[in-house]
């Protein structure tokens, strides 16, 4: 398992500053962002997926996940953090 690659997903009502807020949190924990995809679906639903590398993070995965979930609550969004392998296994042979 590639222990260090984590996918962060953000879903919820769109507004100004979501990318900055989430990226800010990750940067504070020294998490490196490798790739970002973002769009607004169906008029007002914001959806963003980020591939990150947590090798250099100053926090462990469990706590990072908690911080992101709390941030999500604060912003009225759903934020998930999952190891990349779940998506690779499900969608790639």
């Amino acid at each position: 398992m590639s222990d260090s690659r984590v996918v962060v997903t953000v879903i919820g009502p769109d507004r100004v500053g979501i990318v900055a807020d989430v990226a800010g949190l990750l940067s504070k924990q020294n998490v490196n962002i490798l790739d970002i995809n973002q769009k607004v679906m169906g008029g007002n639903i914001f959806a963003m997926t980020m591939l990150t590398d947590i090798t250099t993070a100053v926090i462990d995965f469990g706590n990072l996940k908690k911080l992101l979930e709390e941030k999500g609550k604060e912003l009225g969004l759903k934020i998930h953090a999952q190891h990349e392998d779940i998506f690779k296994y499900m969608h790639r042979i």
Binding site: T49, H80, A81, Q82, H83, F87
Partner: protein, 453 residues
């Protein structure tokens, strides 16, 4: 990133809104080396071995749940059929061992332990007879112990003496737990062609050809399939099968990842992945509703058997492509009390036990979690078991009966088991007598299908 955002969101949608989960991670443990002439020593050895091997099972599963964000609902243990481990031939020895198994399950934090079992398709040993006699009390006295008895196989035929006994055992188990709606019967499965590596309860046990210790994973996801079928409105059934196959593939891949990872972390061999659509009482997590989404007014309507056959086969095909080690039961389960759609149809009187029996000819197991009137005779229950076994034996498949004659209840009443076991309306069974047939006993010979060499 080589995974598209759409794919990521699809996975999250499956988990968040369509109840996709790993239903169970079941550790199989051989207890053959725990045998001793003194049952107290057997008990000590059994508890010590389970604690040693499964002590970290739950914690490891929780870790994987955290890492991948996929719920792992249950951790469970399957053991060697206990009639092979307890040397004495006395009922009380088996009741004592059941309490030890219950204790071991509590200590390692698993919610069920399966394998209070016996394989008697061709006849009984003294231990088999003692175990069968012990089942009602053992299940009434314990909380987490599950029992199963294999009474038939395509190779051996149907042991009709065992069929007769199991009707009586089910009645007694219900009576001993009358205050809980006959709950003991929900922990007891009567099998034909039982499999050695099934991770699902109540029928899991660790077969004699299995290794010392193994992890088997059961993945589920009726909600995901239902959503996909609903979206395919208007498409022909060939296309529907294709869609289900693809969903089955994705679900299986996720289970494969979890299975391999848990095996790596525990340093225990990975056995098989059981791809079974197992409904839960949660809204939308229903096999019946998949069939209804294909265009049936209610489950039980003509066409139900065909729809279920399509579903079961497409799941198997998707699963077989996704993992080399698909095993166990793999297909679709139809436990009435655990499925909102089945409960609704049974309540409305449109899903009969006869239709359910027909459905078991094409799905992965059998008559499951069906509540019947408390005054149903032991012989009638035995005859239902015999019919179900005949379907399994002739069609080379596993069938099972998990039926609850609810004490004091009659047709139309409800029984509540709670939790994953759900609730069920009491449905009618035939009033015709099968007594003389069952009293004959003996063994129905193995069918010609069994002579394959």
């Amino acid at each position: 990133m080589n995974i598209s955002p759409e794919e990521i969101l699809e996975t999250i949608e499956m988990i968040e809104h369509e109840s996709l989960d790993v239903r169970t991670v079941t550790m199989g443990i051989s207890l053959l080396d725990c045998s001793h002439s003194d049952v107290k020593i057997v008990g000590e050895r059994v508890i010590a071995k389970i604690e040693r091997l499964a002590g970290k099972l739950r914690e490891t599963a929780k870790g994987i749940e955290l890492d991948y964000g996929i719920p792992i609902v249950n951790t469970r243990i399957a053991i060697t059929p206990i009639s092979l481990v307890v040397a004495g031939g006395h009922k009380d020895d088996f009741i004592y061992i059941a309490t030890c198994l219950d204790e071991a399950a509590k200590r390692v934090g698993v919610n069920f332990i399966g394998g209070f079992s016996s394989l008697v398709q061709k006849g009984f040993t003294a231990q088999d007879l003692a175990l069968i006699e012990a089942i009602p009390e053992a299940l009434a006295k314990t909380e987490r112990v599950c029992s199963s008895v294999n009474i038939a196989s395509t190779r051996a035929g149907i042991n009709m003496d065992a069929v007769k006994k199991m009707g009586q055992v089910i009645k007694k188990a219900a009576e001993l737990t009358a205050d809980k709606g006959g709950l003991a019967c929900a922990k007891l499965v009567v099998f034909a062609n039982a499999v050695d590596d099934n991770p699902f309860m109540a029928g899991a046990f660790h077969g004699v050809g299995e290794p010392e210790c193994v992890v088997n994973v059961g993945v589920s996801g009726p909600g995901v399939v239902r959503a996909a079928v609903k979206e395919a409105k208007g498409k022909d059934l060939g296309e529907v099968a294709e869609i289900i196959k693809k969903v089955g593939f994705k679900i299986t891949r996720m289970g494969e990842l979890v299975g391999r990872e848990i095996s790596r972390r525990l340093n225990v061999e990975f056995g098989i992945l059981d791809v079974s659509l197992a409904p839960t009482p949660a809204e939308g997590d229903s096999v019946a509703e998949i069939l209804e989404a294909m265009g049936l007014e209610r489950v039980g309507a003509p066409g139900t058997t065909a729809a279920l056959a399509l579903l079961n086969d497409a799941m198997k095909k998707g699963g077989a492509f996704a993992s080399s080690y698909v095993g166990g039961l793999s297909g679709a389960f139809i436990p009435v009390s655990e499925d909102q759609g089945m409960i609704r149809a049974a309540r409305e009187g449109v899903l009969s036990i006869e239709k359910l029996e027909a459905m078991t000819a094409v799905c992965s197991v059998g008559l499951d979690m069906i509540a019947i009137p408390g005054d149903t005779s032991a012989e009638t229950i035995s005859a239902i078991i015999a019919d179900e076994a005949a379907i399994g034996v002739i069609n080379n498949k596993t069938t099972a009966v998990r039926i609850i004659p609810v004490p004091g209840k009659k047709v139309g009443d409800m029984v509540y088991f709670g939790g994953l076991l759900g609730e069920a309306p009491i449905i009618p069974v035939s009033k015709l007598s099968s007594k003389e047939f069952i009293d004959r006993g003996g063994r129905i010979p193995a069918p010609i299908q069994g002579m394959k060499n």
